[in-house]
Amino acid sequence: MTLLADRPAVVEEGSDHEHGAGPSGFLKWVTSTDHKVIGKNYTVTAVIFFLLAGAMAMLIRAQLANPDSTLLSQHTYNEMFTMHGSLMIYLFVGPVAFGGLANYIVPLQIGAPDMAFPRLNALSYWLYLGGGSLMMLGFLTTGSAADFGWVAYAPLSNSINTPGAGPDLWIVALILTGFSAIFTGVNLVTTIYYLRAPGMTMFRMPIFTWNMLVTGILILIAFPVFTSALVLLWCDRHLGAHIFEVSGGGVPVLWQDLFWFFGHPEVYILALPFFGIVTDVIAVFSRKPIFGYRGMVFATMSIAALSTSVWAHHMFTTGVVLLPFFSLMSYLIAVPTGIKFFNWIGTMWRGSVKFDTPMLFAIGFLVTFLLGGVSGILLASPPVDFATHDTYFVVAHFHSVVMSLVMAAFAGFFFWYPKMTGRMLREGLGKATFWLMLVGANVTFLPQYLLGLKGMPRRIAEYAASDGFTTLNRISSAGSVLLFLSVAIFLVNVVVSWWKPIPAGDNPWDASSLEWATSSPPPHHNFLKIPPIRSQRPVWDYNHPEDRIIEHAKARPGGFVASGGVGTVLLADVNVDGEDTLETRDPDR
């Protein structure tokens, strides 16, 4: 369904209009400041790190499939889980969301021609690629890559306990990617505040954009703390600063405080973008507006606010934190998260739910994330945490969470791939990816809850046959093979889509937000025309005039307009008065 039938095929004209014959091919890729090119670069790079980290996970599962395993040496095993965690958390789950999908989609969703600071955006990407590569270079050093765990607790991470260039590369890499994240945060917040199209009020933004705004603010709160802490750690290692050393009057546990003051908001920096994807996907495939939109926005904000005061629940067993406070704060996060869950269900309620691949992944997210949420409540209780801290129960808990986020990421890939490339992914292969991932994730991680309860500590390279951990570990390792297959099929799907393309059209999912009003892929500077924005679903209103819900926004002309200076955007047919003449229909008011 073409939104603007009269739009001429002017993709080239649009780009020529301002840039003349710009560079193409490799040169375009390296020099581009277009948020779409940078977003794609980010996504592809992050997926490569995901595959590397996944390969390490397969080695970890192979090692643990047998008792007294000698497949990997203790040292290599320690490197593997350190780098697996570091790549997944620092270089995949976060960057694929705020650097990849958000970079590509947010400007489109708010009708902006690009990010607010395109050159800063390019710098973010190159810092990220440079940092990520540096971390991997650790494998080429004589002392090997970092092996102090992805949390690098002091004083294990000092120059005596973990000497060598690998750990230093890890620290410097994260300082670089830290700056990259901060710049992206600045860019996202500024873009969303200042570059919304006329009519796009804050409360008409898609939930994905809302969540990216809040994520951007959280990045600005959390990442500077981590980046500074890494500088302090580097000073300890090379300048004898003794900040985290008892011997010089330092405080080792300070590292844990600084790390988790970043680390827990980071959990929501990872999660909020995917909550946003799932919210929008569920609404589109249920053919309904989001249920409780405002509740959703306030829930996101309260999750973000609470997430800055729960860090010490990672430190319950240190014996040096105020247990009841951090316990209560952690419990409280369940309330806004619960609101989100019921809003997701409410969006499907009495809808018309279609099970295309993005929707399947969104449902897989709901089912798996719920398990991670419930086990999270248990861990927020200090006595229960005493019994399960640093065991496989915790490993299972956060992998339930992170695997659900990976499913949400796949929902996003399948949902926006047509927009980014102009090609569809194959539904059959997509569904195979989904079912293998859903079953694989749960077969891999459900046994790990039980392993933790039986007393298996995390990060151990081996266990004895008499420990009784063998059977559950074998089930878990078998599950990881399913996950491997699922990702392999996804890659096949991508290859097939290049080999035999199926054109996507502008709006293959009958979706409702602004990115679906432009061509797939969008022209340079994104829009040649944008439809009137009078609700949260401008494209839906245009395509389904009989099923619109129009709120009468109190927009003043010019009040929200800030996308000036862009020659290619023709703001035709935009009515910023909100006094639209079309018939309104709002059955609930």
Binding site: Y153, P252, P457, I460
Partner: protein, 267 residues
Amino acid sequence: MGIPGGAKLRRVARFLLFSTIALALGGCTLPTFGGFRGATTQGQAEFKLWSWMTMAGLVVAAIVWGLILWAVIAYRRRDPDKMPRQFHSNAFVEVIYTAVPLIIIGVIFFYTVKTENTVDALAPHPAVTVRVTGFQWGWSFSYRDPQGKQIALVETAQARPPVLAGNPTSAEYPQFVLPLGETTQIVLESADVVHGFYIPAFNFSRYALPGVTNNFDFTPVHTGVFAGHCAQYCGLYHAEMLFSVRVVRPGAFQAWLSTQPASGAAT
């Protein structure tokens, strides 16, 4: 506006809730869900909280999973031409699902604090005091008299552990002994990096933090030998940092203590 199907679901939810409670009370023993029942009074307090919280969590999860499943099945797209009604909020339902979780976590928080105070309580005059030190890669257990003088010492024999992990209860790993029914205070320290002193059957772990001394009590209620691990990753041989604890009757404990060498000066 009521949501159709709500009444039916409420009935199912009520049934699930009551049947779980009935099962728990009727059986008299709480379900373990794979956890340890606890071999100390502190561990048993933790177990009670664990069991009740897990039941509550599973009931909530079952309701939410049920709602998801219901929405997915009942509202699947049957007629591609039929457009669902475009409703987008319901103030009453939204207030309910904000308020009910708040009440649930209020209750859970109350019992959490209660249990936490039991688990963390320190006896003013413990029967035995053991100073436990974690180091790369082993443990030392130093028994102290009330004046702080060392009266017995058990420690990891080799500075460098064997290449393969055995069972924590096997002979190459240190085993310390606690008296049944009496309260022992553990004074936990680290000689180098952060270690995790973890006894699964006691439902308890605590960090050995450099520069910090952690105190906690164990009051064993079962005799037996229980495995112990280092839970917090501490470097190359983390997986080898094993130990065990043997709980014996007080008479046997005194007999054991008298045979132990008090090697090394008290520090």
